[in-house]
Symmetry: D2
Subunit: 138 residues, 4 copies
């Protein structure tokens, strides 16, 4: 059981108004929950900055007809197979693939992997979602 | 066959130096490829701003022992099943799950889905990787 | 709401005994549920025989260092991209990959795809799990 | 480098004819490759019988509106999280889900997991694809 502590925050009226607007749009029903999410978010950011054990996803979009590229990506992924949990490959159309790589490991190593996957010629886009292993968050 | 056009760019010396540093770190072997990537990146950003058909990944970290949450997430995902290509579920440890949702659809609808997945109580973290369907990029 | 109908089955004593043994091992708590599962199972088998819309999974194990193979598999999958929902790629070790392809479509076409994925030189193993789209089963 | 050894097989004419028919359908271009596949296949079957380290996929089809079932499946999977590499969840329609669980571990434990996932009330279908970790096969 986690016991909740209540405390007050002072905020500019205009800022609070904008915050409430955003909460409504995103479906939040109370401010505490939204503030808790911001705090958790900032803790995860810190995990990444301090090279902690993290998780996340890397997205790649490329044309699978570029044979050399396909093999290059496969090699890079196998070099980092300790950091890769699983890769999801989606055939968007005849030419384009979306590949989503589930990753876990030290933040620095994950960013290194991301850098290597971004640079090969023929990659149309790389995206990145930082996440957490969750075990340091309530 | 795509024909390449060559053109010059003028840049502050210090800025070019920093850019070259970054390229080296990320494994690029020439500047043109790196600039092409920046341009593609900005085009994808625009696809998202202009509510085009896009793809991407949403990451969720949560404790699967929160039964109500598990069912809520399942319901939201099924409501948007036209936008969800596939969901990868990874059991990080006894408590924590990493869920990676592959998505495709209008940018606005994807963001709406993201908002709904972020707000339920018990979610520890949500992440987001913007990507593209690739068919408007070379 | 589905209304249940109750009916009797006569069975050799020895056969019933073996059946009950099996149920215990698999964690069933009553016979009706186990018989219902057998009936559903036989209906799914029929969906496959009668070339209905089905779903399932194809597994591939191969050495990713065989470059030509990697490209061949990618091409076959893109040719059938209407039948492939998503592909999961797992890096088992430095050499070996487990690829799990989620499929949906007419049974005949799925088997055709399976045949094509089985035959390329270098594939170590192919497996197949028949499943259903579920919409014709209660 | 693997050196090939050549040896002869004698076979009934009728059986060879049927075998050749099948090869043609599945896209094989020579008999040796097809026989090699049969031998590998039988070695994998033995890995499963002898409780070796194996890999594979379990498929589940169910209605996600059965809340209790969703939580039960989640719990079973987390109990076996050392054997589960990743789970792919596909939203087939408003009601039906196809879940594909990538597994690795001792054959006996995998079958135990499969038994537990098959029995909960509300599961419409379970399928199973035996595969291998590949490291004992050429």
């Amino acid at each position: 059981m986690t016991s909740l502590i209540r405390f007050g925050i002072s905020l500019e009226k205009g800022l609070l108004y904008k915050f409430d607007e955003q909460l409504k749009k995103r479906g939040y029903t109370n401010r505490s929950e939204a503030v808790r999410d911001l705090i958790r978010e900032s803790l995860v950011k810190k995990e990444w900055q301090e090279n902690k054990e993290v998780s996340g996803a890397i997205t790649l979009v490329y044309n699978h007809h570029k044979r050399e590229l396909v093999n290059q990506l496969m090699d890079i992924q196998h070099d980092y197979h300790n950091n890769i949990l699983s890769t999801q490959h989606l055939h968007l159309d005849e030419d384009n693939c979306l590949e989503i790589i589930a990753i876990k490991g030290r933040a620095k190593q994950i960013k290194e992997l991301y850098g290597k996957l971004s640079s090969p010629k023929g990659i149309k886009h790389t995206g990145f979602a930082e996440a957490t292993t969750g075990n340091k968050l309530l």
